[in-house]
Point group: C2
Chain length 345, copies 2
């Protein structure tokens, strides 16, 4: 997600070393199962937790975002509200769940009615579009720092319904499966990287990239259609290759990606090849779906491109775990991968 | 909840006026029902939302807390972790729901392993005690303010199971019902008010009060027992009279409270009468249950005092809506009420 340049890549230093987000969770927040009547969860480490409540399964996800870290300080409040819910709905989409309710907790430095009006309008536009009502939450004051107002912090917990056992996780990809992606990943990072001064984009293309960063479309309908055909799925929030890494790890497999097959927007194609690779392969914040499916589902998946609101493209295949993850260029040579965007890396 | 003195009472100024928490929610976050397949919610404005998922009902609550607002900056991390979950479990207790899962989102200025170890130990002590496992969440970096590290912000969304239609809300109190409270409310505020320099408490009693503030016990088992007898219930987070006000408003009734009947700890009884009234009537942060029940349930409720871990005491009765809310002293004279603690008041 966008962060201002000072905070990027959100490294949190710990003495001499540093603790990334996943190590931190593993070290402090993973505990033995409590049992004793708690709702079982069948997908730890996925975009959503899938909780079993008697005969019903629900998908739950939680995301926290702050102005000054995930959003620029002066971000349009409408955009902030819309995106804050969208990134949670994207997690539900990755599970193939249908959004049903969300809870909003927000810490505010002040009750600015102009900001709140814009924020709530963006939030509810996404809520109405995806039939996902606000069902509760909390408002509080952001803690001040040395007398200066604290930054707005938004925390959303979104829930969706799962039909029977028909949901997707990051586990389940098998050697020989195709790897697919929706939309044109990399566009969001083209905006962010240019804001950060890492590269330049043509003036006329910036607004396209910025809109892709500011108003991602959670692929909720696509997730619904994929849940019966995909073997594994996640959304791309931290970068395509990085998020694919989570699928590979959970599924205990590897992958080969073919750079020439990657879908790229017309605007992306106008950027230098090196910048394209940076944006598409390891840019974050796309909120497209990355999924795997058996080869015999190709026709069924390609059919989605007819009626679907978003195109899906085959970009590679799953390999046995013993192989290293490779991205091959058009000449079959390996492309060197830069480190994927990771909050605490 | 405790706030440092500068922020108290968390007033958020809006130009010439000010916007309290409830006005803010009403103005910006209450919208017409979306319908179209979303899970219905049957308790808007209660401690929990009660969501109906097919044949199943669940209770969901969300609370956000920050160091420097809800906790002192140097609060013991173990205490912070334990209380952060406890206040959410208290909301589930007020609905009579049994805790089943929670989600934690946390913004941290740095990955301090000493702080995280203490925090997670406190958090999981409460989780294990109440059989409520952590099922997911998010970790991120707290946004810095003018280059200074932002404050730790903790957001928890907790969920519980509701048995059939057997749950409690703030609505349902009827004229003639008794008003009951658990434990000895006011103790937490005795610590907070003395930290804020509003009054003094005997040195030997401070640690008792501070423990009541730092480690409230969510009345989960009591909530389970009450759900079949109480007509309305809430927990006391913002002050007894203020929280009773929410029951009165939602139930469209009024109340008379008898000061002489209020349960007070031995330590509370040693404070000046005026301080006692301030703490007991309008001090926040107790996390005791305040509930109403028909008079013919008295014996059944008093029986809870035999086997229960916490005493319940009858402190008044529900009156018709036309009457003003009154607290009578031992001579039958009205006690003037100070404004209850309210985050944004």
């Amino acid at each position: 997600m966008p962060a201002d340049a000072d905070d990027s890549p959100c490294s949190i230093s710990e003495g001499q070393g540093s603790l990334d987000e996943f190590s931190l969770i593993k070290r402090f927040f993973v505990r033995p199962e409590i049992g004793a009547g708690a709702w079982p969860s069948s997908s730890i480490g996925d975009d959503c937790a899938i909780l079993t409540i008697g005969a019903v399964k629900i998908a739950v996800t939680a995301d926290m975002m702050a102005l000054g870290t995930h959003f620029l300080d002066d971000a349009d409040p409408y955009t902030v509200g819309k995106k804050a819910l969208a990134v949670n709905l994207s997690d539900l989409a990755a599970a193939g769940a249908s959004p049903k309710a969300f809870f909003l907790s927000i810490a505010l430095p002040e009750a600015d009615p102009v900001w709140l009006k814009g924020f709530s309008e963006g939030l509810f536009e996404a809520a109405e579009r995806f039939h996902c009502p606000l069902r509760g939450g909390d408002t509080t004051k952001a803690a001040s720092v040395n007398g200066l107002p604290g930054k707005t912090c938004i925390s959303i917990c979104a829930m969706g319904e799962v039909e029977g056992d028909s949901y997707m996780t990051r586990g389940g990809a098998k050697p020989g499966d195709d790897i697919w992606v929706s939309g044109t990943p990399g566009d969001a990072y083209a905006a962010l990287g240019s804001i950060w001064g890492q590269f330049e984009v043509p003036v006329n293309d910036f607004s396209y990239f910025k809109a892709r960063m500011d108003t991602p479309t959670p692929r909720v309908e696509l997730g619904q259609k994929l849940k019966s055909v995909a073997t594994a799925c996640c959304d791309i929030s931290d970068g395509l290759v990085g998020d694919l890494g989570h699928i590979l790890e959970r599924s205990k497999v590897s992958a080969i990606l073919y750079w020439k097959d990657f879908p790229r927007s017309e605007q992306m194609k106008r950027l230098p090849e090196k910048v394209q690779r940076r944006c598409v392969l390891s840019g974050g914040d796309d909120y497209e779906l990355l999924f795997t499916a058996p080869k015999n589902k190709r026709a069924q998946i390609e059919n989605l491109n007819e009626g679907g609101a978003v195109k899906v493209t085959r970009i590679g295949e799953i390999a046995p775990a013993a192989e290293p993850l490779k991205v091959l260029d058009q000449d079959g040579k390996s492309i060197e991968l830069s480190k994927s965007f990771n909050h605490f890396a």
